[in-house]
Structures are given as structure tokens and as C-alpha cells.
């Protein structure tokens, strides 16, 4: 089974003390190899509490020379002209192996509302760019519902707020919006993967670990021995995210 980790974080955190930090992309690759993770979507700590522009650039520098990593860029309202303009964005993403965006309004100082983000949401809908959102951390489900009501074609990869069993929050999003995908790093519920597959199909679930904050092995072993078909496991482990990345219309 091939594992594509949709949620790897690394870098140097300025405002918290990681007991086992993974500070650079070389260490990420070493750890992935040791654990049998072949591909990953990666972000840096510096994108959170550091700076948007420099953080995005650091990720781009890291993934550019690799064959198995794809980067995530932070998106902020375009009115301040700090990140590439919407009409330049797809070309820049393609040139830098960027395969998703993330929205972190609480850290980056803007409201999560469709109006300040309108050009980005239009572009993401048109080009099928996945947007990563972590529930909690300043984002509540209702804000996401409002955006998805206005932009139902958005591809959203969301993860749960915490490891507390979250089906009551997760299932409505998966059922109401066909392009919402659930990334499993925070989903440890016993028997939960089996039940979610019955509920919405394996096509809506994405393997992610949350490394470097968490170990690879927990979610890997959970998925490996989930009581679902091998085909479904493979979809969750890698095929779903590969399909999403291949679906990005960089040249549109």
C-alpha cells in the first residue's frame, strides 16, 4: 500500500516548544523513508506564526527540487498585494510544485468570509485547487458552511478540531458538500474509519498524520487494519489525494 501523507508540518516553531522538532525538509524525507511514506503534502511552521510571504517562499524552495513532495501556500485577501495576484497565481504554483492552499484567518489577520476572499474562491473553484482548513484554530464550521453555500464547487480538505471523536461535526460537511474531503490525522475514533466509509465512501477520506507533531505509525496502523476493502484503503492512503492534485487546472 502506498502512503501519501496529506498533512506534514516541519520547521522551527517560534511560539511553542516541540520536544522532537523536524527542522528541515531533508529530515522530513529521511523520516518518511524510514516509515514507508512515499509522498507528502507539506507545510512549514514558519507559515503559521512567522510570515505569509517568507513562509510560502520557504516551502517553495524546499519542494522545488523534490519528486515526491508538494507544497501548500497560505492565502490572504489580495487587497494588500503581498502574494501573487490571482491572474499570476496558477503559473507560480505550477512552477513551484504547490498543490494546495491553506486558510488560517486567526493567525493571518483576516475574517473568514467570502467577500475578502472572493477572487481566490473564484479561482480555486475554477482551477480545482484544494484548500486546507483545520476546524477549530479560529475556524468554526458555520463560517465554512457559509463559504460553501456560496462556492459549492470548492475543493476543501478539512481536518477535525481535535482528537475527540468528531463525527457529529464531520459527517454533515461530508454529506452536504460533494467536494469536501476529510483528512484523518485528528480522527482516532475506534471503528470510525469503517463507519465513515459506510457513510460516505472511501473517496472522501484522505490519509494524513500531522507529523512532526505526531508519529506516522498511529494512523498508518489504524488504516492498514481497518475492516474495509483493500481498494478502499488504497484510495484513502494515496489515490484520492493524487487524483485531487492531478485535477488541478494549472493552465486554465
Amino acid at each position: 500500500m502506498e502512503f501519501f501523507d496529506c498533512n506534514i508540518l516541519y520547521g522551527m516553531a517560534a511560539t511553542k516548544c516541540n520536544l522532537m522538532p523536524v527542522r528541515d525538509v531533508a529530515s522530513v524525507l529521511t523520516n518518511m523513508k524510514q516509515s514507508g511514506i512515499t509522498k507528502a503534502l507539506v507545510r512549514r511552521e514558519e507559515q503559521f506564526v512567522g510570515a505569509v510571504v517568507i513562509g510560502n517562499q520557504l516551502v517553495a524552495n524546499d519542494v522545488k527540487g523534490t519528486h515526491n513532495l508538494w507544497g501548500v501556500w497560505s492565502i490572504i485577501p489580495h487587497y494588500t498585494h503581498e502574494i501573487p495576484e490571482p491572474e499570476m497565481m496558477l503559473a507560480q504554483m505550477k512552477a513551484n510544485r504547490i498543490a494546495a492552499w491553506q486558510l488560517i484567518p486567526s493567525m493571518h489577520g483576516f475574517p473568514l468570509h467570502y467577500r475578502p476572499l472572493k477572487p481566490w474562491l473564484n479561482l480555486a473553484s475554477k482551477a480545482a485547487i484544494p484548500i486546507i482548513i483545520k476546524l477549530g484554530s479560529g475556524i468554526v464550521d458555520t463560517e465554512l458552511y457559509d463559504i460553501l453555500e456560496k462556492f459549492p464547487d470548492l475543493v476543501i480538505i478539512f481536518s477535525a478540531e481535535s482528537v475527540w471523536p468528531s463525527d457529529r461535526a464531520v459527517r454533515p460537511l461530508l454529506m452536504e458538500f460533494p467536494n469536501c474531503y476529510f483528512e484523518l490525522s485528528q480522527y482516532l475514533t475506534d471503528g470510525g474509519i469503517e463507519e465513515l466509509v459506510k457513510f460516505c465512501g472511501a473517496q472522501k477520506l484522505l490519509f494524513g498524520t500531522g507529523f512532526h507533531e505526531t508519529h506516522f505509525g498511529g494512523i498508518m496502523l489504524m488504516l492498514k487494519h481497518a475492516q474495509i476493502s483493500e481498494t478502499d484503503k488504497q484510495l484513502i492512503a494515496s489515490k484520492n489525494i493524487i487524483k485531487l492534485i492531478e485535477g488541478i487546472k494549472y493552465d486554465s
Binding site: 520536544l19 522532537m20 516509515s35 514507508g36 475514533t189 505509525g217 489504524m222
Partner: protein, 284 residues
């Protein structure tokens, strides 16, 4: 594969279980809880998970026993009586709803069910050393029972932090105090208490969600006072196993955590020798 240098990792990866490595989980629950959907929370569905992992014995306290004292812990008693080889319960103690006479009778009358006491001081807003608990502690101390206590210290807890636990273990040296969650986030105090008090053990629920804390506990305390726990049915047992297989330690350390430390603690219970495979008791 999670790691190539571990025979246990190879076997668990391939089969999901290892016949040479039974597991004892010291921190389980059972039943419905107000804020979340738990797909496998009945004894029968939990047994399904336990079979998949070779989890031989779960020590638990039902969420309804903890949060609905009106039920008188009957669901836990029924589950243990139905599956005495696979489940043992902790007696839920809650000073907010304690009826000393009736609760003591319930506790002592069902000693085949209860291995000790369980408490959630932060949730109940009653400290570990609340005077209402004293008769139960004296009984547990006399009987040398276990006490699984929720311990969390982030932010600093006035109910179940290191200070309260230290006062307790000094006062009741015959009770095995199992620090559920290992004083989460206050790892240095967890280390100090573990190394100071022979009757204090560290338990891993929520500890292994993060890289680093277990590695630190192993480095400073060794593996012989660390107990496996998962909060089953909240969290998948394979997740807990996978994180321990991912953590840098020897397979001997892993066996200590998965079952050897637990079997030493439980050997004093008359029922244990009847349910625990002889090959593990005699060969260790």
C-alpha cells in the same frame, strides 16, 4: 512498514496483532458520551476491536458510571460479569454524588468486578484529596487496589495536578496510583513523581498523540513503570499500538509497556492467574 528494526512492528504491521504480545489496556471506558458519537462502545463491539489487536484485558470505567451516578455503575457490573476474562472495572468515585454507605457497599460487594477506583477530578471540580473520598481510599489502601486517576496539568490543575497526586501517594503507599495521561504536558513533574514514588505509574492515553513526551519519559524513567492505555472506545487501539511501534525503543521496552508491567501489577488479584495465559506469567 512502520520501522524495520522491530520484530513486533513487523508482526503488528502484517497481522494487526502478535500472538506473543498480549496487551493489557489500563485506561478504557464504555458506553455513550454526551459530546460524541462512538461507533464501538458496547462490550460486544469493543471485544471486536480487542480481538483485532490481541488486547486481552481492558480495565475500564464506563462513561455513564462517571457521568450518570444514578445508574449505580450497573452497566459496568453487567459487562464484567458477562465477560469476566476480558473486562475488569474501576469503581467510579465522584464526591458530588457520593452516598458513602451505599457506595461503599456497592464497591465492596462487587470485588470480583472492581480492581480499584477511577476518578475525573478536573471534570468534577473536586480535588483528589477531597475528604469525602477518605473511607474509600482507606479501604483501597488496605486492599492494595489500583487507582486510575485523570491527571492533567495544562493549565495547572488545582484538582489533579502533581501536587495533589504527591500528597495522595505519600498518604496511601499501598494503593497503586496510575496517573492517567501522565500529568499531561507537565512531563518533568511526571518524571519526578515516577522516579520518587514506587506506587506511582504513568499511563499513556493522550501522551502518544504527540511525538516527544513518551521518548522523554522513557529516557528519564525507563519502561518499567509505564502502562498502556487508549481511552477505548474513544480511540482506536491500533493507533496507540502504532505510535508505540513508531517510538524509538527496544521491543523489550514495548513488551514492558504492552503487558509485562501490567501483569506484574495484576498478579496479586486472585482472578488474574485464571485469565492470563500461563506462558506469559511463567516465562517472564
Amino acid at each position: 512498514m512502520i520501522r524495520n528494526d522491530s520484530q513486533l512492528a513487523k508482526t503488528f504491521w502484517q497481522y494487526g496483532r502478535d500472538e506473543t504480545c498480549p496487551i493489557i489496556d489500563f485506561h478504557g471506558h464504555m458506553g455513550e458520551f454526551r459530546c460524541c458519537f462512538l461507533p464501538r462502545s458496547t462490550p460486544e463491539t469493543m471485544l471486536k476491536t480487542m480481538e483485532q489487536c490481541n488486547l486481552q484485558l481492558l480495565l475500564f470505567c464506563g462513561t455513564d458510571s462517571l457521568m450518570m451516578p444514578c445508574l449505580r455503575q450497573q452497566n459496568d457490573i453487567d459487562a464484567v460479569r458477562k465477560y469476566p476474562d476480558r473486562f475488569k472495572a474501576y469503581f467510579a468515585l465522584n464526591a458530588n454524588a457520593l452516598d458513602e454507605k451505599a457506595d461503599m457497599a456497592l464497591f465492596t460487594k462487587n470485588r470480583d468486578v472492581f480492581v480499584g477506583i477511577k476518578m475525573l477530578p478536573d471534570y468534577f471540580k473536586r480535588p483528589i484529596n477531597d475528604c469525602k473520598y477518605q473511607p474509600f481510599y482507606e479501604y483501597a489502601n488496605d486492599q492494595q487496589l489500583l487507582f486510575l486517576c485523570h491527571t492533567w496539568d495544562n493549565p495547572k490543575s488545582p484538582y489533579n495536578g502533581p501536587d495533589q497526586a504527591e500528597e495522595f501517594v505519600q498518604k496511601y503507599p499501598n494503593i497503586t496510583f496510575i496517573a492517567g495521561h501522565s500529568f499531561h504536558n507537565n512531563w518533568s513533574e511526571a518524571v519526578r513523581l515516577c522516579n520518587t514514588y514506587p506506587n506511582l505509574y504513568l499511563e499513556l492515553t493522550a501522551v502518544v498523540d504527540e511525538r516527544g513526551p513518551l521518548e522523554m519519559l522513557l529516557e528519564k524513567c525507563g519502561s518499567e513503570k509505564i502502562l498502556f492505555g487508549t481511552d477505548l472506545p474513544w480511540f482506536d487501539t491500533h493507533h496507540g499500538i502504532g505510535t508505540i511501534l513508531s517510538t524509538d525503543m527496544s521491543d523489550d521496552d514495548r513488551r514492558n509497556i504492552f503487558y509485562r508491567n501490567g501483569q506484574k501489577l495484576l498478579a496479586k488479584y486472585p482472578w488474574f492467574k485464571n485469565i492470563w495465559p500461563k506462558k506469559f506469567s511463567t516465562s517472564e
